[in-house]
Amino acid sequence: MKLDAKTKKILKIAAVSALAILEIYLIYAAVASMTTYHHHPKFVSVEGGQVAQSSGYRSQFFVCLAFAILIPIGAGVMSYFFWFRKPKAVKAAQESSRVITFDSSAAELAATSDAAPEKPETMRFIETDEDPSPLHDNG
């Protein structure tokens, strides 16, 4: 399915918004998990003072925190590649878009040919507008 530039833009904005909402929820959930953890009664062992408390929401706090940290890091890495590295690569590709290619077959043909020894065309250069970069349009 080919998407036009406007649709791609809408999808990008939707994806970034969804990530932002998820990030806000994860931060809230991490704080709320820790608050809930402290709402649970805390018990201490008679011998040794070992603490016992329902630990489900503490585990949830760490999971939320881990994802809340991972999302901005992931988004940072992605934006680095999409908005910084990619334009640089595209610019470099555009600068070297006019590539000069040596056509060796023409030279060989000239060397082995019994044709008249008039001014031989030993080398032939072909100018192409071929883009050597494997990068695709980012849209």
């Binding site: 809930t36 709402h39 018990f43 201490v44 062992s45 603490v51 016992a52 408390q53 329902s54 489900g56």
Partner: protein, 228 residues
């Protein structure tokens, strides 16, 4: 552009319809009390009852902050109605007239079976809408409960062996064959509905207990007190 908006509208309508259908199926269905608890006193084949076994379950949020997943809790209590002490599990002594709650908890000190945790929770305002059913248990039923409690796999809390599984299985161990059995469900809210299928189920049945709080590490009871 209009195609995309139409497509999104279609997706949204399908999503909302599915969500409403799921809500109707899962959450909004009324519970019909269509089961009778077995009357142990009227059954001459049973020995005299020595204890009352109660199965509690609630799907309420308690003090869980809004926006978080809250599953509720399920547990059992055993009340000694005989004139002598009853030994439960690996050696918990239940004196005559005493009541103890037994549940599986995921605690940082021990993930498994805990004794008498729930009275503290109830004192602090948790599980106020708990639903429960109670049946009499004779010595044979207590022996079956003890066999279940002494099983090595019982004393481990996991997501697939949580408080609901534990409470249901303990009740079923005491239950008389299939007559009072409850289906082993995954969440306390499901078990609560199962409990409400029994005629005469109770809401917020009181149980106070000053008996020791703790768990068994091997055969040794590790006692805990509420931190003030």
């Amino acid at each position: 552009m209009f195609d995309i908006i139409d497509g999104m509208k279609k997706i949204m309508s399908i999503f909302i319809t599915t969500l409403l259908a799921c809500m109707c199926l899962v959450g909004c269905g009324g519970v019909v009390s269509d089961r009778d608890l077995h009357d142990a006193d009227a059954d001459p084949s049973l020995n005299p009852a020595i204890a009352l076994v109660t199965l509690y379950s609630t799907g309420e949020r308690g003090k869980v902050e809004p926006g978080l997943i809250a599953c509720g809790h399920a547990y059992t209590s055993i009340e000694n109605i005989s004139g002598a002490s009853i030994i439960l599990g690996k050696g918990y002594e239940l004196p005559a007239g005493g009541t103890v709650t037994i549940a599986s908890w995921e605690f940082d000190a021990h993930s498994g079976v805990w004794f008498n945790i729930e009275p503290t929770y109830i004192d602090q305002g948790w599980f106020v809408k708990r639903k429960s059913i109670t049946r009499k248990a004779d010595k044979a039923a207590i022996d079956r409960i003890n066999a279940y409690l002494r099983n090595g796999d019982t004393d481990k809390w996991t997501l697939t062996n949580n408080c609901t599984h534990f409470a249901s299985r303990l009740w079923n161990a005491a239950a008389d064959g299939e007559r009072d059995d409850v289906k082993v469900k995954g969440l306390p809210s499901n078990l609560e509905k199962e409990v409400m299928r029994f005629k005469g189920y109770e809401t917020a049945r009181p149980h106070k207990s000053d008996l020791p709080i703790g768990y068994f590490s091997g055969d040794k009871f590790i006692e805990f007190k509420l931190e003030k």
